[in-house]
């Protein structure tokens, strides 16, 4: 089986053409129904039961779509099933008598040969006969096999950036910065206004930590501009560490200027998810670095924060404008759906997928989950409204860089160490390949 992956990595059986996706969707179903009302393609009297299996213990946004689908097919019963130990049990479930019709997949599964039985069961959804509108998915969220087939459809995406407390900006007459110089200017003004560290986040090495959100998209952009470096970076060649310099320097400057204080962050923010959100809701942090998951977690935590409930404020997600001409939108799919090609109700399952793959439904699900929709329509959730019309040349997915996971980890470690004063920028660059502490 040919699947797309992050690059031609030795030992991985499946060869990938990482950038094939640019062309990939051109042959997909035409964008014919996206903006119009959904028109049922099957008899609306059809009675059947469809099961969706996934790793979320709770999937309210999907259940909401079930209800919307029932408006067209009232006799269909859709059911979401949480599988314990999903990675191990989904393959078995697919073989069982109670195999799910739709199952959750993830990009990493493409790289894992253990997962190949799962993907083997996935239906090719780019088949024009299915009339699924794949064009509604934006460029950075599309995943296509080398052969042009699409077997995984993005449902949610996430990015990395910062939550901005709009009330603080408004109160101080400030505009959300669009580029690095504006960012520095805003930080100066905020400091002058009494916000000691205008930017905060979780001081850690995870992708949800602040350094990843702050500097990693800039590093990726540098790699994309210099594609020749990819092989060396993936091979952990020391000299390739130089690619990290621009991003690390900006980080270092930020820390040195006092705009970002790792020690204070460690003290006040215990973890990279719940604590980040709760700290942000205290209302005195102008910019809180984090991942899309952090944004997703805000909705349910608003009511849990006494401070926020007492004095609520408006907040939005922005990418960090670390580049001279702005920030970078690092697009990452959070969750895919694949269809069990052996489903006993394949037609209705495909009908449901056709229903779901529309800007309206995907936007609706994303808004409920407060993750980023995989389409270009960001209108359904104001928190992500800054992404509307984001320049395409500065929006890319991680897989576009062709970098492997190890490079990702090396950068995170470098950033952490530079920011916390464990290494200088030069030391970190020099230590590339051995920065990640296992």
């Amino acid at each position: 089986m040919m699947v797309k992956t992050k690059g031609p990595v030795p030992g991985i059986l499946i060869s990938i053409a990482a950038f094939a996706m640019v062309l990939g969707f051109s042959a997909c179903g035409q964008k014919e129904e996206n903006s119009t009302e959904f028109k049922p393609g099957l008899s609306t009297e059809t009675t059947c039961s469809i099961k969706v299996a996934g790793s979320y213990s709770n999937f309210e946004s999907l259940e909401s779509e079930f209800e919307r689908f029932y408006e067209y097919y009232p006799n269909v019963s859709l059911n979401y099933v949480f599988l314990d130990d999903y990675e191990n049990t989904i393959a078995k479930a697919l073989r069982s008598d109670e195999a799910p019709d739709i199952f959750v997949t993830a990009s990493w599964m493409l790289d894992d040969d253990k997962m190949s039985p799962i993907l083997d069961n996935a239906e090719i959804l780019s088949d024009p006969a299915l009339k699924i509108d794949l064009n509604c998915i934006r460029k950075g969220a599309r995943w296509t096999l080398e052969n042009g087939d699409v077997i995984m459809l993005p449902i949610f995406t996430r990015s990395y950036g910062m939550l901005v407390n709009m009330d603080i900006f408004e109160k101080n007459g400030l505009k959300v910065p669009n580029n690095y110089s504006e960012l520095v200017d805003v930080c100066d003004k905020l400091k002058a206004a009494g916000y000691e560290t205008p930017v905060m986040g979780a001081n850690g090495t995870t992708v949800a930590g602040m350094y990843y959100a702050f500097a990693f998209p800039m590093f990726c952009n540098n790699v994309i501009r210099n594609p020749e470096s990819v092989v060396q970076l993936n091979a952990m060649e020391k000299s390739a560490g130089e690619m990290m310099r621009p991003a690390l320097l900006r980080l270092k400057t930020f820390v040195d200027s006092g705009y970002l204080n790792p020690d204070r962050c460690s003290e006040e923010i215990e973890d990279d998810y719940n604590a980040v959100i709760m700290r942000f809701f205290e209302g005195d942090v102008p910019m809180m670095l984090g991942s899309g998951d952090m944004v997703s977690g805000t909705m349910k935590r608003e009511s849990k924060s006494e401070k926020f409930m007492n004095s609520p404020f408006k907040y939005k997600f922005y990418v960090v404008p670390l580049g001279d001409d702005g920030g970078y939108f690092l697009d990452a799919v959070n969750l895919f759906f694949s269809v069990n090609k052996n489903s006993s109700n394949l037609d209705m399952t495909n009908e449901f997928i056709r229903f779901l793959m529309r800007e309206k439904e995907l936007g609706n699900m994303a808004a409920i989950k407060r993750l980023i929709t995989p389409t270009n329509d960001f209108s359904l959730d104001e928190v992500y409204s800054s992404l509307e019309g984001f320049p395409e040349d500065k929006a890319f997915s991680y897989q576009e860089t062709g970098l492997n996971d190890a490079v990702n980890k090396e950068f995170r470690a470098a950033a952490y160490k530079v920011a916390n004063g464990i290494m200088t920028v030069d030391e970190a660059i020099g230590a590339y390949g051995s920065l990640w502490d296992k």
Partner: protein, 935 residues
């Protein structure tokens, strides 16, 4: 009742019926719902039993396995794990049921299974490493019959959602050779359990059975219950606070019961809940949309709808019928109104149309009266005047009444002199009262303000009416007119005028009081038929007062008299008190008497217009000696008739008159071109004595202005100003003396009241004639009285004294008359003593009076008799007639003939005979007449 009220009552009744039906339906619906819920709860109990039975059965099977394995261990021949699984593999029947043997102490939670892995045919191992399932191993009971159940989880071997019944077993550890505790799991697909619950869908189409643990996590759940946790689901779609949430959790986890909640679509649904008997920590929930349970009550709503519709149709039907009736009624009412309006219009038009020719008749009659010298014509003309004025009065009343009925009568407030109004009223009533021999008493508060503001004409009309009625219905006694006032409480610029008229008349019966103010009603019609009137007067007066915010009050005692009174708020323009009105009035009358005209103008002719007859009379009398010819008119219209045909030197025109006031009349006069009066000065004759009025009247077109009561000197000045000089002559000495002037010596006789005599006789001529007759008859009378008295003929003595009484009173010798009356009474009573004692004195007084009157016969002789000589033929015919009337005792006719004969001179001896005849008539000595005429 108004249409809207009828509809409102209908709607209220409808609403009450509907309310009752709704209440009844609701009660029934609640009962129905209650029983539906009870039935649903029963179904829940059944489901719980099925589930419990199933769980107990499955647990029992698990326990059989564990018991067998444990028995082996207890018996000293423990099974190895492999042997145990091998035993289970053989013991279990269904291929869908897995047996797992796990070592709970193994951190990786590894074990072996009855089934091979899906991928590796030789691999029987199973691992729960990544499945969080054994947190509470201590809770697993080793006792038989106690269900130890996992949550729903994914069977790590086949990826199927399953549940597992558990028990502990002791197996032989082959490496150590010792017994080892292991957990035996009978793993079954959740779908098996679900299948057991499908059974209920036959009874309730949309029922969904779910099983939750005490944390709300589902073991199984239906399509409608979302989320992985029931409590979370409840929180998402039901806005419950923490107390409500806790209450819900307590309720669901307590005992059998039912609760309502909203599902994800916001629809109301019912959850029946019951704890599983076999497992205290598991609960069965039966979910159903409320509408499915409530479906059976649709019929009641249909009933309600039909009843509502029926009532509405009934309402519309009734409304239509009501509308038809109403239309008919309003048509009838309209017709009645039109008829009434036609009547009013007819009355108004008729009255008006009659008035115009009446004015012409009266006006022209007035001219006849002035111009005619024939006695008979004057008598007829006087009758026409009296009848005409009565008729005009009636017509005016009808006109007023029709105006009031048509709502066209307006109250027009003006400033007026209260004294002036009083003057008009008193003048009017005084003459009428005197005519009837009634005494008019005045009681006028001297502090009444001088100038008031109100509708003078209407107030005057009201009081006139009351006063006229008082005179009309009083035969003897007095009429007392009172005018007083009190300050108005609400307005400092006003007073409350209090007017009352008390009479000693016939009075009103209490039962007639109600009819007093009714139009066209006349009380005691039979008795009062001789009293003219329309029966509108009081009704009109009351209407006027009502329009002015007042009303007439009546106190009356039948046969004794009545008091009519009213109180009326009037504005005050001048607070100066009117002073002693009676004195003022008396002074005014005497001034009028004292007035001696300084000129005569027999050629001059005036027109005086006033709606009050008395004012006209006063005016005429004032100018009598000036010999000015005066025409009077009682209304504007009547004046216009005269204005068209006869030239006048001056016209006096009253301002305030009903219908056509002075200004309107003047305007109309000025528009007339075909008249001999172009350029005739018109003087405003008004009671309006306010300063600034003169300018007003001059501006209105009047040439001058004179106020009432008329100041004779001012009147004379005006006449001298406007009457052409050539028509004016100075007063000659004789002008003041009439031919039959009463000689001064008569005024000097103390025992004689000339005024009374004049009043009784009508005029001076008649008075002088009467005096002469009195003197002439005296010798015979005294002789007769003495003669009859001497012969003891008391009867004839009394008759003669009676004659003396009447004639003495007639000439104004009241004292002598009274003396005679006393003796007459004595004679009638046969009181000869009194006669004996006083008859001499009576005759003495009689003779004294005659003695004083004797010069009269000398004067008479001086007057040359200018009467025509009667023809012999006429004389004989007259004598024959007198004889015949005497024979038939018609002495009135005898009197008439004698009176008519007085206009002739009798030749020679016949004169003596006629004088004797006249004396006999005057002395009522009718027996003598045939004797005188015998030859």
């Amino acid at each position: 009742m108004k249409k809207t009220q009828v509809i409102a009552i209908n709607i209220v009744i409808m609403a009450l019926i509907l309310f009752f039906i709704i209440q009844y339906t609701n009660t029934k619906m609640n009962e129905s719902n209650k029983s539906a819920i009870e039935a649903f709860e029963k179904m829940t109990v059944s489901a719980e039993q099925i589930v419990t039975n199933y769980l107990l059965d499955e647990q029992h099977l698990c326990d059989i396995w564990s018991n067998y394995i444990n028995r082996s261990a207890e018996a000293g021949s423990p099974m190895t794990a492999e042997e145990a699984i091998s035993f289970i593999r053989k013991a279990k029947i269904s291929p869908d049921i897995y047996g797992h043997l796990i070592y709970p102490d193994d951190p990786l939670k590894n074990g072996i299974s009855t089934h091979r892995g899906l991928t590796d045919t030789a691999d029987y191992s199973v691992s729960y490493r990544n499945i969080n399932l054994f947190e509470n191993l201590n809770n697993i009971s080793t006792e038989d019959g106690v269900v130890s159940l996992t949550r729903a989880y994914t069977n790590p071997q086949n990826g199927i959602q399953s549940i597992a019944f558990m028990n502990f077993v002791s197996v032989l550890d082959e490496t150590t050779g010792e017994l080892k505790k292991a957990l035996l799991m009978r793993v079954e697909p959740v779908s098996t359990l679900k299948d057991k619950l499908v059974f209920f869908n036959g009874e309730y189409e949309s029922v969904e059975i779910s099983l939750i643990n005490s944390d709300g996590d589902y073991l199984v759940h239906g399509k409608s219950l979302k989320n992985s946790n029931f409590y979370e689901y409840y929180k998402s779609y039901n806005h419950a606070d923490s107390i409500g949430y806790k209450k819900m959790v307590d309720e669901v986890t307590s005992e059998l019961g039912t609760m309502k909640m909203f599902n994800s679509k916001g629809e109301e649904c019912i959850i029946s809940h019951i704890p599983l008997k076999s497992l205290n920590t598991w609960f069965l929930l039966a979910y159903i949309p409320s509408r499915e349970l409530a479906a059976s009550t649709v019929v009641d709503w249909l009933l309600l709808g039909m009843v509502t519709l029926g009532l509405l149709i009934l309402l519309v039907f009734n409304y239509l019928i009501l509308m038809i009736y109403n239309r008919k009624l309003s048509e009838a009412a309209e017709a009645a109104n039109q008829a009434n309006e036609a009547k009013s219009h007819f009355l108004s038009t008729m009255s008006h149309d009659i008035r115009t020719p009446m004015n012409a008749i009266l006006g022209l009659n007035e001219m006849v009266l002035r111009d005619s010298h024939e006695k008979e014509i004057i008598v007829y003309s006087e009758s026409i005047r009296t009848a005409g004025k009565t008729l005009l009065g009636l017509i005016n009343e009808i006109l007023d009444f029709s105006k009031i009925e048509a709502g066209k009568m307006d109250i027009i407030n003006v400033d007026y002199s209260f004294v002036s109004m009083l003057n008009d009223l008193v003048n009017m009533v005084q003459s009428k009262a005197e005519d009837k021999g009634l005494v008019l008493n005045l009681d006028v508060d001297r502090d009444i303000p001088m100038v008031l503001n109100g509708d003078e004409i209407r107030i005057k009309q009201v009081i006139t009416n009351i006063l006229s009625n008082a005179v009309k219905y009083t035969k003897e006694g007095s009429i007392t007119f009172r005018a007083g006032f009190e300050k108005a409480e609400e307005d400092s610029g006003s007073i409350k005028l209090i007017i009352s008229v008390r009479d000693t008349g016939i009075g009103i019966k209490p039962e007639d009081m109600k009819r007093l103010f009714m139009a066209f009603e006349r009380i005691e019609e039979n008795k009062n038929r001789n009293i003219e009137g329309t029966g509108l007067g009081m009704s009109i007066a009351q209407s006027f007062l009502n329009m002015m915010g007042s009303h007439i009050e009546v106190e009356s005692e039948y046969g004794k008299g009545s008091v009519f009174s009213f109180k009326l708020v009037q504005g005050v323009k001048d607070w100066t008190p009117i002073g002693d009105y009676e004195e003022t009035f008396r002074k005014h009358v005497s001034e009028r008497k004292k007035y001696q005209e300084t000129f005569t103008a027999p050629e001059a002719r005036l027109l005086v217009v006033d709606d009050t007859q008395v004012n006209l009379s006063v005016f005429e009398n004032l100018l009598k000696r000036t010999k000015v010819q005066i025409d009077t008119a009682i209304s504007g219209d009547e004046a216009i008739v005269l204005y068209r045909v006869r030239h006048y030197d001056v016209i006096f025109l009253d301002h305030m008159m009903p219908d056509k006031d002075g200004i309107d009349t003047l305007k109309e006069m000025k528009e007339i071109t075909d008249t001999p009066n172009t350029g005739t000065p018109v003087v405003c004759f008004t009671a309006n004595a306010i300063s600034g009025m003169r300018e007003m009247y001059i501006n209105a077109g009047f040439d001058d202005y004179i106020t009432k009561p008329v100041d004779p000197f001012r009147l004379e000045a005006i006449l001298l100003k406007y009457i052409p000089k050539e028509k004016i002559a100075p007063v000659s000495k004789n002008d003041g003396e009439e031919d039959n002037n009463i000689p001064d010596f008569i005024f000097g006789i103390e025992t004689l009241d000339v005024d009374t005599g004049l009043k009784h006789c009508g005029n001076r001529e008649a008075y002088l004639g009467t005096l002469e007759m009195y003197v002439d008859a005296a010798p015979k009378n005294t002789d007769d009285i003495e003669k009859y008295w001497a012969s003891g003929d008391i009867k004839n003595t009394t008759v003669k004294i009676h004659a003396l009484k009447s004639t003495s009173r007639l000439i104004g010798a009241a004292k002598l008359g009274d003396f005679a009356a006393r003796l007459e009474k004595a004679g009638e009573a046969g009181d000869t003593d009194t006669l004996e004692r006083e008859i001499g004195e009576l005759l003495d007084q009689y003779r004294k009076l005659i003695k004083k009157l004797e010069p009269l016969s000398d004067i008479k002789k001086e007057v040359e008799d200018e009467r025509p000589v009667i023809s012999e033929e006429d004389m004989k015919k007259a004598y024959t007639d007198i004889r015949e009337f005497c024979a038939s005792f018609d002495y009135d006719s005898v009197g008439n003939i004698v009176e008519s004969l007085e206009g002739y001179r009798f030749p020679g001896d016949e004169a003596e005979r006629f004088d004797a005849l006249k004396k006999a008539v005057d002395n009522f000595d009718y027996d003598l007449i045939p004797e005188l005429l015998s030859d």
